[in-house]
Structures are given as C-alpha cells and as structure tokens.
Symmetry: C2
Subunit: 216 residues, 2 copies
C-alpha cells in the first residue's frame, strides 16, 4: 500500500486547486513520483482536514471536515536545550502529542541558543504531516513566566504530577534550564511538580510532562 501524503497548506485557500509550494511539488513529483489523481489529504493546521487528489502541481480540493482539538489544551514553556538534535526532538514530539503552543523560556542560566524560527516551524510541520494532524503547534519566545493556577513547574522536589492530570481546562508546564532558574526569574507561588522518580533532561521533562498532562 502506497503511503498517502498529508500536507500542510496554510490558508488562504483558493477555490478548486490548492497551491502547495515548490518544495512540496518537487517532493511529490521527483521523490514520491506520486500519480496524478491519487488521493492526498491536507490541512490548514487550524483544524480543517481535506481529502483531495494530486493534480501534478497542487491539490484538487475535495471533502473537508473540521476536527476539534481533542484532549486537554497543553502549552509548554521550556529553556532551549543546547544541542540542535534535542531542540528538534523537542519540537517534533511536542507537535506529535498535540501541544498547542511551545514557547522558549527566557532563562538567564540557559546556554542554549534558540533555533531559527523558520527551522523550528519546519520541524513542527514535518511532524504534523507525518502524524496526519490537523492542528499545527505554534512556537514563540523567548518569553517569561507569569503567575497562574494553571502553570506547573517541573521540579524533582515537587508534588506528584498525577495530582494535576485530571484537573480540567488548559494547563502549561514550565521546564527550566539544567542550571536551574535564576533568582526571581519565575513567580514563587507556582506549583512545582515531579514528573517521574528519575532525573530528566530538559527536553525529556518537557515532552514527557506534556504527554502526562495530555494523556487520555
């Protein structure tokens, strides 16, 4: 069975045939040699998924449905890891598990340089297409952390995270740099949570913490 491509095509969508961009056309024709008229799914990254056919230079639009975001809304605020491969892993996995928004934390004791925004977005798009999703994660930052009852901070000395899994509504998890937070960097009254009983790297804590909050 041929693997059916799933493409992110940002709005605004034209009537009839969707323009998918030169890179996607090249990939579909040169790499996949995808047959004319074969089925393709597409999404705007904002909840709409369509089933169309490959026109050779774009997608003939077909039936389109709106997918609601399922499960809890989870945001991640994380100090960028140093290694590019860990940054990429973090972006891809957060997209896959359905994180709504990934923000790089503005942390004084972090040495990680942020990935270029177009690169981080490309990682997320790749993961969205691979997992056939309908909701593209947004990526921003560096940002600070504000107080809120729905904000959890990963901390090996904190309370068990499971206590917060069934709480309703939106939730954000903050993961600081390996060196910890600088004094006054985050509000004192945020809830600290322990994720598992072992020491986790920044990227692992962020992905696994978000997944626990997203778990069914």
């Amino acid at each position: 069975m041929r693997h059916q491509p799933h493409l992110l095509v940002p709005e605004v969508w034209a009537e009839g045939v969707l323009d998918v961009g030169d890179d996607a056309v090249r990939h579909m024709t040169k790499v996949l040699r995808y047959p004319l008229g074969a089925p393709v799914t597409y999404t705007n990254g904002q909840g709409i998924i369509g089933t169309g056919t490959w026109s050779g230079s774009g997608i003939d639009r077909g039936e389109e449905t709106r997918i609601t975001r399922s499960g809890r809304v989870v945001d991640v605020i994380v100090a960028a890891p140093n290694a590019k491969e860990r940054q990429r892993f973090l972006v891809e996995k957060c997209q896959e598990i359905g994180v709504r928004r990934l923000s790089w934390l503005d942390a004084r004791w972090s040495s990680g340089r942020l990935p270029p925004p177009h690169k981080a977005e490309a990682w997320a798009v790749g993961a969205l297409e691979q997992s056939r999703g309908a909701w593209l994660m947004s990526i921003d930052g560096p940002i600070g952390v504000e107080a809120g009852t729905d904000v959890l901070v990963a901390d090996a000395g904190g309370e068990p995270i499971r206590r917060y899994v069934s709480a309703s509504g939106r939730m954000a998890i903050v993961v600081g740099p390996e060196g910890g937070f600088a004094p006054g960097e985050i509000p004192d009254d945020l809830v600290r949570v322990r994720i598992v009983d072992t020491v986790l790297r920044t990227d692992t804590a962020a992905v696994v913490g978000a997944a626990i909050l997203r778990s069914t």
Copy 2:
C-alpha cells in the same frame, strides 16, 4: 562549578581503586582534564552509587549506598523504529525515565533493523551517566509477547491509559510497528490503551507510554 562525572563501572569491583576502562580514562584525562583527587560518583548499574575520587587512572572508592528502585517497575516491548536516531532516542529516553527492561519486539511487519547490542547498550550507559542514575536498563530481544494482565498494548482505538496508571505492581507496554501487528502475533486478550488523542510514532508512543506508567 565543574560538572561532576558519574560513571558506570560494572561489577565485580576491586578493593580500593576501581578500573574504569581505557575509554573512560581517556575521556577523564584528555577531554575533561579532570583533576587528581576530585570527586567522582560511580554506580554498578544495579542500585549502588558511590562517591569516590579520581585517581588519574581509576576511581578511589568512597562511601557507597544502595538506592532502591523508586516508582513502578515498567518494561517496554517495542518494534524497532527504522531510523537509527529514533532507536537511539528511544533507548536514551527509556533509560532516563527509569524503564527496567527494553525488549525489541519480534514483529513480522516491522522493517526496522535492530541496532547492534553493544551500541544500544552504549546509548543506555550514556543516558544513565548523564542522568546520574543507579539502575541500568537491560536491553534484549527480539522477543514475542505473552499474555498477562500486566501487559498493555498501545492502540489508538483502546481505552484511556490513565485507567491503568494507578494500578499497582509491574507493568509492560507493547508498541507495535507502524504497519500494525501481523495476525496472531500478539495474544487477543491483551488490554489495548490509547495514550494521547493524537497519532504517535512508534518511538514516541513507547517513551510517552512508559513515562505515563512511571509518572509520580
């Protein structure tokens, strides 16, 4: 602050000074230029952690304590992903979150070639040392899956995994290949669980599923 090395030194341990092997000596002397007499921690990967000092060619043994395995015992049985980087990610993250045993699944519809055992073990050792752990994950396979009430199979159409999070005792999670299980490959009566509400890759499902079962 200098980062203090944490080294896996498999048993049997000599009295006095521990032999750490040529690679570790080279790393400590050439790469880290670690000072003579400076503190080093070490583990046998079986629950013992010691605090010793660097002798220039080994570790002068110091105080040693036994660390009990904390949290639930979780095993992972997973079809090997294709890409080496995903295999490596899987091994490292499972070690980090404290999985006891990682077994490659003997799956007919899996195209992933297993990593060489010495390589997979080296990934786990690296992650153990990085996360300053006391328990080295074992890696084996390919194996089949036997029936058991403590075995969960990742399946997008299954029951919410959270129902099984607070069950006591040991638990194993099985993650099949992207192409699914071949007929009769796993027992029919195993519990199927949905991890999150999005489609996950093999490696993500294994890591995140294990982390949810390990969550505090």
